[in-house]
Amino acid sequence: MEKHSFVQRLIARPEFGPLVLLLVELAVFWSINHEFLSVGNISNTLSFTVELGLIALAMTLLMTSGEFDLSVGSVFGFAPVVMWTLFNTGAASLELAFLVAMLLAAVIGWANGWFVTRIRISSFLVTLGMLLVVRGTALYISDGFPQRTWNSGEQWLADILVGSFYIGSFRLYASLFWFIGFAVVLGYLLTGTRVGNWIQASGGNPGAARARGVNVDRVKVALFMLSAMLAALAGIISSIRTSSANPNSGSGYELEVIAMVVIGGTALTGGRGTIIGTVLGVFILRVMRNGIVLIGVPGLAYNIFIGAIILGMMTLHSWLERRHQSGT
């Protein structure tokens, strides 16, 4: 009963479903257009993937603790606007401006957490309200004008965050290593540490966790702050890479990020989360968007395909789950 082979153990893991989905997806797209796995395309897909991925990592922990955050997209747009406004007006050095932007993000996350845990408003309403406030503030302080970033060329900070280099003809961004780093740290945090146990308990049965002396509120506030700060970091990385800090960038990311996390196998209702699953989920969605364009779907039908593939993949996913549940 306790002796099962490696394959059986792999199949029993909750991440097995998303893994199969990703492989199927890669195989299908590749068979239609071999360019799909070309060096140029992979490098291109990776660059944007990790930016959304950073947010998804933090969102995984937050959703495991039973809350979610709709304001990440607006923080993604807000933080770079603050940073580059400060820098471009000469009010601060780039390092200081970066710190100020991250600090503001932390405050936003803290405020989200405060409303949710103290005032006990549902995180849907709190973060929806915060989304509007933050997005509005970004527009207001920038007067709607995008901030220029291209005098960032010689900055060590910019290099550390998104410096790109080539391995052969393969262009890699430093941001990929940030993503890998955060994935490893947060994955370890969730599964291997005491805090990870608290996060899962906070989402699974907050009453029980509180009864055992876990400070559920502090856990949630910390995760809201993490989520806002990673969103800010992702936004700053993106602004440097695309050389523009537009107050509107990041709109609509919230739903996409939540979709990535859910496809990866994290429960929408809290208590169960997986970082590996999220990493797979991030790739599943990004590869899908890239692949659909690459195989030449008509432009206006783009959304039809994205939606249909989400539905189709989740059906496959649920079928895989059920098969393994009813096993033996």
Binding site: L189, T193, R194, N197, Q200, G204, R210, A211
Partner: protein
């Protein structure tokens, strides 16, 4: 006599317009097992929820070893040495047995800043505890609570109280759902608790179980304490039942 371990004075608790506790005085001495009895809805669970900081009281005072305390959350009560096993068993169904057992008190391993849980230790202890509490079946400690039977869940909750020693252990109907062997496990655990210097509040509807282990019986009815010094050695089960249902009172009416 010295101050009791716990003293609750004139406790009132109202849920909206429902008065669940109506001026309750209650105490537990050091090394004493108190049986708390009463009909459904008498206010037993509410009383111990107040004592463990799970619900705020409307008015009244709580003293621990003579010092007035103000429990605003369960953490405060746990810090004061009060451990509680709730009736609506407070386990996280998604987590494994071992993770539930150690929730809030996870042992660490390696450098502190890594915050690394010592999962091997947790699993080993969990395996031991399950045996102690009377579960003979071989259940791996990594099994999620969600796939246990009703009684197995209750046993896990009991095991948790056995492991962490506190000054006062509160058990709200711990023997519900339990089989013969497991029930014996719990009762002998309560007896041992006194011998090792702990106090205990034991709530159960099975008066036979209560009689087997407690030093003193307190009876509640409709939010009030109606008897607080019944000695199980000198009183009959029938007499206590009469107190619980209110039959002993002059002019007691029953509809």
């Amino acid at each position: 006599m010295a101050e009791p371990l716990i003293r609750m004075a004139s406790i009132r608790k109202a849920y909206g317009r429902v008065t669940a506790l109506d001026g309750v005085d209650f105490h537990v001495n050091e090394r004493e097992i108190v049986g708390l009895l009463g009909d459904n809805g008498a206010g037993k669970s509410t009383l111990i929820k107040v004592l463990s900081g799970a619900v705020p009281l409307t008015s009244g005072d709580i003293f621990v070893r003579g010092k007035k305390v103000n429990f605003r959350a369960t953490n405060d009560a746990i810090a004061a040495g009060i451990e509680t096993i709730y009736q609506d068993s407070a386990l996280v169904t998604q987590l494994s047995i071992a993770r539930n057992l150690f929730l809030g008190r996870e042992p660490l391993k390696g450098p502190r800043f890594l915050n690394r849980m010592d999962q091997d230790h947790m699993n080993a202890v969990a395996r031991d505890l399950l045996k102690q509490v009377g579960i003979t079946k071989n259940i791996p400690p990594t099994t999620p609570i969600g796939s246990l039977s009703g009684g197995e869940r209750q046993a896990v909750a009991i095991a948790r109280a056995m492991y962490f020693d506190s000054d006062l252990i509160i058990l709200d109907e711990p023997t519900n759902n339990l089989g013969v062997a497991e029930t014996q496990g719990v009762l002998s655990f309560v007896r041992n608790a006194r011998d090792s210097g702990h106090s205990c509040i034991f709530i159960a509807h099975n008066i036979h179980h209560v009689f087997q282990v407690v030093d003193r019986i307190v009876v509640m009815r409709r939010g009030k304490v109606v008897a607080d010094d019944i000695d199980p050695k000198t009183t009959s089960v029938a007499a206590v039942e009469a107190v619980i249902t209110g039959m002993n009172e002059p002019g007691a009416t029953h509809h």
